[in-house]
Each structure stands twice: as structure tokens, then as C-alpha cells.
């Protein structure tokens, strides 16, 4: 048993902390307010290999591991959950399926530039009528000669419109149900592919969330990821890993909110002394810190399992469930501890509380995580 981070992971933490403090935190409130996608931050993250952390160097990655990746998303999310999810969606959902299921040619053509951060990735599974019931895919792909022709649409796609490469799921054989779903690598410029509605959101407002539209979209058949019919398996295993990223994001939001609140309660005076001197406040802080530490252990455990080729589906679901609920509880309490000021945009906890909510919803709602955990228990 060893709870220590490696020297490399420690250094990743300190670099991510400094990067977040200097490059991410100063614009977090502004990009939330204006819903501006932080392209400049993406470029900076690319420069320092923060967009391909868990992938081998020969595929353009950093040669690090899943724990370092979770630490990076956690640190980014302490100041800006938008930046955290850009990194997470790109890495876990855009890059990983190609790393895991792509052919060598696909890896060279797509993974290398993605992991280097020269290109941004996204993942399109959700449809208006296929959310938690992801098997209800209505987008269809029909092989015609050397190309698949895609028709249909996706919604709520993170990095939509900003990404260059999309992992898209579509039915190649409706009669086979989930075994009739296939995955495709779609470039933003493929004919027939366009961006539809851009969502206005409660939180993570600077992250791009859009509809993707496929109208007779032509995808070369060599861009089929894995084999025909493997799409559902690819989607589910990708989401298993993606949950570690979102759990790390939720952990970061919670930890960031508590940091802000510890600072605030030491400064805020009522009844002639800082409110941190009141035991009623201390008890709340102690509970929040304990919840955050428990979430952190679950997140790192899931990341450790993935890095060491151990089973991680249940662990990732537990981490995501607990970290997301922690983020929501902690940010709500942190707003409370800020009193009226916490409800204003003068302090970041208001934004953090809005950002926290999505972690209970995307990449599988809390209830989906419970289904995954229960299925593991009862199998």
C-alpha cells in the first residue's frame, strides 16, 4: 500500500498549479460571463503537452499516466471548470478511442496531432432521443463504395465547433440493436458535416456545447474505428475512462471552492472577529474537506487502476458519482458560507456552484453511475 504520488506526478501537480494560477484563473470569470471559448489557453496547453498526457510519446503524447492526467484536470478545474472539461473531453473522449481502437494508420493520422494538441478532439454519441439510453441511436451510416454516408444529428457535444476531429457513432445495421452501432472518425471539413445549435448553459459556459448535423456526410471507409458493430463497446469503454476525467473535474471544482472559502472566512468579520473563529463554521469546513479528500482517493484509485491495466469501470463510476455529488454539496455550502456575497459575481463560488451541477449529469448521470456500480455488484 502506498499513497504517495511519484516524483513525476508531484511535479505535474506543481506545474499545473502554477499554470492554472497564471494562465487560467485570471480569465475564468470573463470567459464564463461572455461564453468565449478560451482558444489561447488551448494553445498554451498544447505547448506544454497538457492535451495528450496519458499517451505514449511515439503517438504525440507526454508519456505520462492516468493519475497525472487526473491531477492536471483537477488543478485546471480548481480555477476554471470550463478549461478542465476542454482538456478532459479532448483527452478521454477525443483521443483515447483512437489510441485504444484505432489502426496504426489512424493513430498516425489522427492521434499524433490530437495528442500533441495541434488538433482538438470531440465525441458524438448523445442524440435528442438517445441520452441515457445510448443504444437508441438514430444517426445512420450506409456503406456506398469507398465511403460511409452519415445522416442524422448529435446534441450536447462538448468542444463542438471548436474541435477538428470527432468520434461519431451511427447505426450501420439497425436490425442488430446495440451490435449494429459503429464508430467513425469524422473531420470537421468532411462534406455534409455542419454545426447546428450552440447551447446556452447554466455553467461551464465558455466550453462549446453544440449540435452536430450530418446530411449525406461522406466519411471514407478507412475512417471506420474498430470494426462494424463495435461502436457500442467503444462508446461504453470510452465513457468508463472519461468518467475519471469528469470525476477529476468535479474534485477540482470542489477543492477550488473550498480554497476560496477558507480564504474568505478568515477575512470576513462578524461580531468582532473573523467568522473562521466560530465553531459552527469550522464544523462545516471540516466536513467539506473530508468529503473532498474521500473523493480524491476514489478518483486517484480509479486513475491508478486504469494506468496499471486493472479493472476500472466500477471504480470510475464510484469516483464520478461521489466526486460529482461532492462538488455540488461543497459548492452549495461554500456559497452559503460566503452569505450574500456568495450569491454575487464578486466571488467565484457562484460560478463554481453553477459549474458543479453538470458533473452530476454529463458522461452518465449520477443515476447511470449507480446502475454501473449495481450491475458490477449483482453480476
Amino acid at each position: 500500500m502506498n499513497f504517495n504520488l511519484t516524483k513525476e506526478q508531484e511535479m505535474v501537480r506543481s506545474v499545473m498549479k502554477e499554470f492554472t494560477e497564471k494562465e487560467v484563473k485570471p480569465i475564468a470569470a470573463e470567459i464564463d460571463e461572455t461564453e468565449r471559448f478560451p482558444r489561447e489557453t488551448v494553445e498554451k496547453m498544447a505547448k506544454y503537452n497538457m492535451l495528450g498526457i496519458p499517451f505514449p510519446v511515439e503517438y504525440g503524447g507526454s508519456g505520462a499516466d492516468e493519475v497525472a492526467y487526473a491531477i492536471a484536470v483537477e488543478e485546471l478545474s480548481k480555477a476554471c471548470a470550463t478549461t478542465g472539461v476542454i482538456c478532459s473531453a479532448h483527452t478521454s473522449l477525443g483521443c483515447w478511442p483512437i489510441y485504444k481502437y484505432g489502426s496504426e494508420e489512424q493513430k498516425q493520422k489522427y492521434l499524433v496531432p490530437l495528442a500533441k494538441g495541434e488538433k482538438l478532439g470531440a465525441f458524438g454519441l448523445t442524440e435528442p432521443n438517445a441520452g441515457t439510453d445510448a443504444a437508441g441511436q438514430q444517426t445512420i451510416a450506409i456503406l456506398e463504395g469507398d465511403n460511409y454516408i452519415l445522416n442524422g444529428s448529435k446534441i450536447f457535444i462538448t468542444n463542438g465547433g471548436q474541435a477538428d476531429v470527432y468520434i461519431i457513432f451511427a447505426m450501420t445495421d439497425r436490425s442488430k440493436g446495440t451490435r449494429g452501432i459503429s464508430a467513425f472518425i469524422v473531420e470537421k471539413d468532411f462534406p455534409g458535416f455542419s454545426i447546428g445549435k450552440i447551447e446556452e448553459k447554466m455553467g461551464i459556459r465558455a466550453s462549446a456545447t453544440t449540435e452536430l448535423i450530418f446530411q449525406e456526410c461522406i466519411v471514407p471507409k478507412e475512417n471506420l474505428l474498430g470494426k462494424e458493430g463495435e461502436g457500442f463497446k467503444i462508446a461504453m469503454s470510452t465513457l468508463d475512462g472519461g468518467r475519471i476525467g469528469i470525476a477529476a473535474q468535479a474534485l477540482g471544482i470542489a477543492a477550488g471552492a473550498l480554497d476560496e472559502t477558507v480564504k474568505y472566512v478568515k477575512e470576513r468579520e462578524q461580531f468582532g472577529r473573523p467568522i473562521s473563529k466560530f465553531q459552527g463554521i469550522q464544523w462545516i469546513l471540516a466536513d467539506l474537506a473530508t468529503e473532498i479528500e474521500a473523493a480524491r482517493l476514489l478518483v486517484y484509485k480509479a486513475a491508478y487502476n486504469k494506468a496499471n491495466n486493472l479493472p476500472y469501470s466500477k471504480e470510475a463510476a464510484m469516483a464520478k458519482l461521489f466526486a460529482a455529488e461532492t462538488a455540488m454539496n461543497v459548492t452549495t455550502k461554500c456559497v452559503q458560507l460566503h452569505g450574500g456575497y456568495g450569491y454575487t459575481k464578486d466571488y467565484p463560488v457562484e460560478r463554481m456552484m453553477r459549474d458543479a451541477k453538470i458533473t452530476e449529469i454529463y458522461e452518465g448521470t449520477s443515476q447511470v453511475q449507480q446502475m454501473v456500480i449495481a450491475a458490477n455488484l449483482l453480476k
Binding site: E8, A68, A72
Partner: protein, 263 residues
Amino acid sequence: MNIIVCLKQVPDTNEVRIDPVRGTLIREGVPSIINPDDRNALEEALRIKDENSDVKVTVLSMGPPQADVALREALAMGADDAILLSDRAFAGSDTWATSTALAAGLKKIGDYDIIFCGRQAIDGDTAQVGPQIAEHLGLPQITYVEELKIEKDKVIAKRSLEDGHFIIESEMPVLLTAIKELNEPRYPSIKGIYEAHKADRVKVWSAAYVEADKSNLGLDGSPTQVNKSFTPPGRSGSGEILQGSAKEVVRDLIVRLKEKQVI
């Protein structure tokens, strides 16, 4: 071109506290960092490497084995090689003994065109080690560099002064000291961090290996004697606001400062 950057691992003084009784730094639990001015020196060396072919950047430090972390961070930023001078014989060194050791390490390296130091370290604030190394090695030195150009075998440096600057040209080899105005240091890259932690990336050299003059090393070789260090007690009493026109107030202030022999 070979550039050697001398760097020191220091406690992050933003987070440091002083033991009020003993007057010494409380180092427990304080994170260690690369001395900030040294990071500017390293950044400039890396910039020169980025802009020119055939530039090799070596980082050199004297310190305990833990200073390995600072050197690996420098490697993660992009330095090619790292050398740590570490030996019990170096313990307790003042600036003289430190510069003696570093100069011995530099002689051992042998081939250098620019030796780049930070202006001063945030824990000691002496600004002596860089200039002393230049004296040990008989090199020209330009301190407080805020801008640097390389032209063939010469450096042209803008040397910052309190009320202006010098533009100084020097042949290489030369010793330079960097100030924070010189540049904005890059971060270590994530890939660089993992490459920097491979085995044997930091060479450790002993006093005997660099053939340093033992009589000038460590506590015994240090001419500086620290009798006492203390934290001045906080000042009591309130200030006074001078009244009148700007001219009167300034005159009054100067008279009073002279009376107190401050100026």
C-alpha cells in the same frame, strides 16, 4: 555553443516563516523552488537554444541530494544536461566557498561560452556568487542583464541600473547574471517532466571529483561568520503626516531625515 546555467534550489520565501527565537528560517513544510532569477537565466539560455542550432544548455547546482528536484525541473523546461555538486565537504558554505565549488565544477566541465547565473537568491540576497565565479575563472562579467543579444562570438547585453542602463559588449566566454525583467520563464512541459525523471539524467559530482581546493570549501572554508540572526521587533508608535505645500513638505522631510542621519 555551450551555455552553463548555475541555479540554486531555495525555499519559497512567499511561504516561509522565521523562528522568532532562533532567528532562522523554518524550512519544514516549505516548498522548494528554483531560485526565481536563476529561472530567468535558464529561460534566456533556452531561448538562445531555440533560436540557434548547436546550442547545448547545461544546468549546474551545488546543494544537498534533494536539489535533484530543481535540476530535473530545469531538464523538464528543456536543459540538455544537469550536474549536481553534492558532498558533505560543501556543507555550510558561504558565498566564497560556494563560488569556489561552482568554479571548480565549471573547470571540470571545461568547455563553456556563457555562464549564466541569476542576480541573487531569494534566501540569501547577496548577489555575490555570480561575480565571484567570474573572478575565480578570470572571465569578464555583466551583471543585472535585462536584454541580451548574441552576435557571432560576442554578447551584447543591456545592463540595468537604478536610473538607466549600460549597453555592454563582451567577447565570450563571459559570465552574465539575469534579472527578472529579462524574460518570462516557460513552464516545464508534461512530456519534459517524464523525460527528466529517467535514470542518470542528473550527474552527481563530489568535491574530490571536481578537484576543488578543500581549504576554501564548506563551513571551515567560509570567511563569513554569522554571529547572530534575528527578526527586528515590530515598530511601535504612529506615523506623522507632514502638512504644507509639496515644496515645504519635501524640505521638511529632508531636514528630518538628515537629523536622523538616514541620508
